[in-house]
């Protein structure tokens, strides 16, 4: 298994006996995986007659969580760098409509470029305001949340923008790779790339160091302003890709796509064990955080709860999981 976390659990260099290994094993770090398994088993038993365990339903869970997973991978970088990005949901919405409009005007490639451009531009603006002007990312991206959502609604006059380009729809979310839904492939790609970059590259280490102690990182020769800029740029761009995935899956661009996703993404990241105060990040954890949320959503629907009840139960489970995972 690849190490999803920068703080390895036990000792890998010197052999130790299993007893000390167990004692040192910090189970709180694995709460997300334990929680995932427990909730999964719970639904598997409780909802066995409602079709929870059918391959179709399980694939559905993956498909429905794909966009959140992708957004949350970018968010993991931002949060482990001790920043936050509240604009991701509206960036996804704006990217979906820009892509849709560009596809119908100019075709496939310009459409994709238009979507990416939304992420690059918004991410750069967020990053520049945070790193150059020193405005807290909470405020910058809160403002951007409104701006991006407003622009998306404005340029479309609130109307959905249908996408009739089949190639686009196939690539972004509607198609399958053999038995595997395209959306699942997309999220696997982002998770794999995200995990490798965060754990195994210089950039990843510098993100964690900047989040852990910006001052010390600065004294170590890390350009922390650049790092902060880069994480917000990544998060914006990744959110734009998620927006294109919405557009492809739903075969249209719409300003509502992705609205509220920032909260699900943040919840997934925190559930996954990334520190809200920066310094630690786990992409694998984020994946399971997102899956857990998807699992709960799916299970509650199958169980026949209405949407108000779903919200209550979902909120309670998230608080419980974070409470269990916190350091004492």
């Amino acid at each position: 298994m690849s190490k999803a976390n920068t703080i390895p659990a036990g000792d890998t260099a010197a052999p130790r006996n299993f007893g000390t290994f167990l004692k040192e094993l910090d189970w709180r770090r694995y709460v997300i995986y334990i929680g995932f398994v427990v909730v999964f088993l719970f639904f598997a038993v409780l909802l066995r007659d409602q079709g929870f365990m059918t391959p179709q339903n399980l694939l559905n869970i993956f498909r429905q969580t794909a966009t959140i997973t992708v957004i949350a991978v970018g968010m993991t970088y931002v949060i482990s760098c001790a920043e936050i990005d509240l604009s991701v949901g509206s960036v996804a919405g704006l990217a979906s409509v820009c892509t849709a409009m560009a596809v119908s005007q100019w075709g496939l490639v310009p459409g994709i470029l238009a979507g990416l451009a939304v992420g690059l531009v918004v991410g750069s603006i967020n990053g520049a305001l945070v790193s150059l002007l020193g405005i807290p990312s909470f405020l910058v991206t809160l403002g951007m949340l409104g701006i991006a959502a407003g622009v998306a609604q404005w340029i479309t006059a609130s109307a959905p923008q249908p996408i009739l380009n089949d190639t686009f729809n196939m690539i972004f979310g509607s198609g399958d790779f053999g038995p595997v839904p395209g959306l699942v492939v997309w999220s696997a790609l982002f998770v794999a790339a995200g995990a490798v970059v965060l754990n195994r590259t210089k950039f990843g280490r510098q993100v964690l160091a900047t989040g852990g102690n910006r001052n010390a990182a600065e004294f170590t020769g890390i350009n922390t302003k650049r790092i902060k800029f880069q994480v917000l740029l990544i998060s914006g761009t990744v959110a734009a890709v998620a927006g294109m995935l919405y557009a492809g899956r739903l075969q249209s661009g719409r300003f509502q796509w992705g609205s509220g996703d920032e909260l699900s993404a943040i919840a997934a990241v925190i559930l996954g064990g990334t520190s809200l105060f920066g310094g630690f990040g786990s992409i694998m954890g984020t994946l399971f955080g997102a899956l857990l949320i998807g699992l709960i959503n799916n299970g509650l629907i199958l169980a026949g709860l209405d949407s108000s009840q779903q919200q209550v139960v979902r909120g309670a489970i998230i608080i419980l999981a974070v409470a269990l995972a916190r350091k004492k």
Binding site: K202, R205, A209, T220, G221
Partner: protein, 502 residues
């Protein structure tokens, strides 16, 4: 000995963290109106013992007796009620509030209608300061005051809660020399009023200046408790370190042939901010340059400017005769400069990250294979640094936060020497470090210079500065006022006068 004199007594206290025993059967007592020094190497357990007395940690075994009766101290509040006050190493004040509001935080005097009476707290704060015979404005906002005033506020806060015992853990670490002297006088006055003080410090001169008795801890065990008059300085040092140290603070002539060459570093007319004014000097390979000056004289700011942290307003920096642009630490590192910053916790380390990750942070470029980091290389490199600098660590994966102060400092030094710099700047490299480690660090500095590196050392401790420097630059208000070869400095007093600009 009459135990009734004891204000506080700790009997056979033991404490472990995660199965690792840190204090073993330690007994400790404090008499009314005495200054009791608590000494021991880094990681000996001094702070842990005091945190038990303050209610931050609970002992695994043993008991605490206060005023002759067993006391259960399970929280900081319990300790306060029992008359135990603490001057925190990391200050526990709210910077945005005034001095008076801090002193009476959560114990505000109430006036009519149960509302907080700020005037009463200012009045009572004034009374406390008057008793302490110090001059502090209770209405000043704490964030605007210097560290010395923070400390006075902490002490006033403890006294306002009727503390009978004050714990001071390395209180002079962040004080200038004259401020320390003022603190010592305050301690003398408190003592006369019957207040007992537990004083932790790695500086022997302070222990001699203040303490009536001394307790030495080594590896979590009590080695001795004696009146200071009954032990010799050599015995104390040996007790703390566990071996004899000789001549650590004696200046040793090194092979001067090395630093005859062309200057490695030249600074010409450097101006940076308000604290570096028209500074010029040069430094040859193999030379150790000491920077002396009062607090605020611009020593740290000069170091920061040389490392590219603070913007240079004008002037030139030449390395190996070539003018270079130093606008960021990365450029300084590329030019072969390393800075060991003055505050290791805030500037030197990512405390929650592992020892290994901290060591490798400036060396990531060295362990890359293609775009990816090679973890085997990283492990080997960090292990070799740990070994070379004798860092005591249970495992390199452990957070650096759990190491004792001296070992944390070694990690910072090791991290920077891993980059193999030609010019090394050390800002207060032995702050909070025990005598044994201190002599190791001083030896390390000498060795580096002998190996042809150019070294700049900043220190507020004159004996230490004189022990290593080949030349001393005296700064005042950001300017160089003297440039004295070591051979011209007869003794500490000479340097002290030079620093004061006499």
């Amino acid at each position: 000995m009459n135990t009734a004199d004891n204000v506080v007594e700790m009997r056979s206290v033991s404490k472990g963290f995660n199965g690792v025993s840190v204090l073993k059967d330690v007994s400790f007592d404090v008499r009314r109106g005495e200054v009791h020094a608590l000494a021991g190497g880094n990681g000996a357990g001094k702070s842990t013992l005091m945190k038990i007395l303050q209610g931050v940690y609970q002992a695994d075994a043993g008991e605490i007796i206060i005023g002759g009766k067993p006391a259960a101290i399970n929280s900081i509040q319990d300790a306060k009620n029992a008359g135990i006050g603490m001057v925190f190493q990391e200050f526990s004040l709210v910077p945005s509030l005034t001095v008076a509001k801090n002193i009476f935080l959560a114990a505000e005097p109430l006036g009519a209608g149960g509302l907080i009476d700020d005037r009463a707290s200012v009045r009572r704060a004034k009374e406390v300061f008057a008793e302490m015979e110090v001059d502090v404005d209770p209405r000043a906002e704490v964030s605007r005051l210097g560290t010395a005033y923070w400390q006075l506020t902490e002490i006033a806060k403890a006294l306002s809660q009727n503390a009978q015992v004050l714990i001071m853990d390395e209180p002079t670490a962040s004080l200038a020399r004259h401020e320390s002297e003022a603190l010592f006088e305050l301690i003398d006055r408190l003592k006369k009023r019957g207040i007992s003080i537990i004083y932790i410090s790695h500086r022997m001169d302070e222990v001699y200046r203040l303490a009536d008795r001394i307790t030495i801890l080594r590896d979590g065990r009590r080695l001795l408790t004696e009146p200071l008059s009954a032990v010799t300085p050599e015995q104390i040092v040996e007790g703390i370190v566990g071996r004899k140290i000789e001549g650590q603070l004696a200046y040793r002539e090194r092979d001067h042939a090395v630093h005859e060459g062309a200057p490695l570093l030249e600074v010409r007319g450097l101006n940076a901010g308000r604290r570096v004014r028209d500074v010029s000097f040069s430094l040859r390979p193999g030379e150790i340059l000491g920077l002396a000056g009062l607090m605020g004289s611009g020593r740290t700011e000069l170091a920061r400017a040389l490392f590219g942290i603070d913007r240079r307003d004008s002037g030139d920096i030449l390395i190996r005769g070539k003018k270079i642009n130093l606008n960021s630490p990365q450029q300084a590192i590329d030019a072969g400069v390393a800075l060991i910053p003055e505050d290791r916790r805030a500037q030197g380390l990512v405390l929650d990250h592992s020892v290994r990750d901290n060591l490798l942070l400036p060396l990531l470029g060295q362990i890359q294979r293609g775009p990816l980091l090679n973890s085997t290389k990283g492990k080997d490199l960090s292990s070799s640094l740990i070994k070379k600098f004798a860092v005591k660590v249970a495992h390199p994966n452990r957070p650096v936060r759990l190491l004792s102060g001296g070992n944390q400092q070694k990690v910072v030094i090791a991290k920077w020497l891993g980059t193999n710099p030609d010019i090394l700047i050390l800002d207060e490299p032995t702050a909070g470090v025990d005598i044994g480690t201190k002599s190791e660090i001083l030896d390390m500095i000498r060795e580096l210079a002998s190996a042809g590196k150019a070294v700049i050392v900043i220190s507020s401790e004159y004996p230490e500065l004189l022990a290593v420097s080949d030349r001393v630059l005296v700064l005042k208000d950001g300017s160089v006022i003297r440039d004295i070869p070591r051979s011209d400095i007869a003794d500490e007093e000479y340097l002290q006068l030079a620093v004061q600009g006499v």
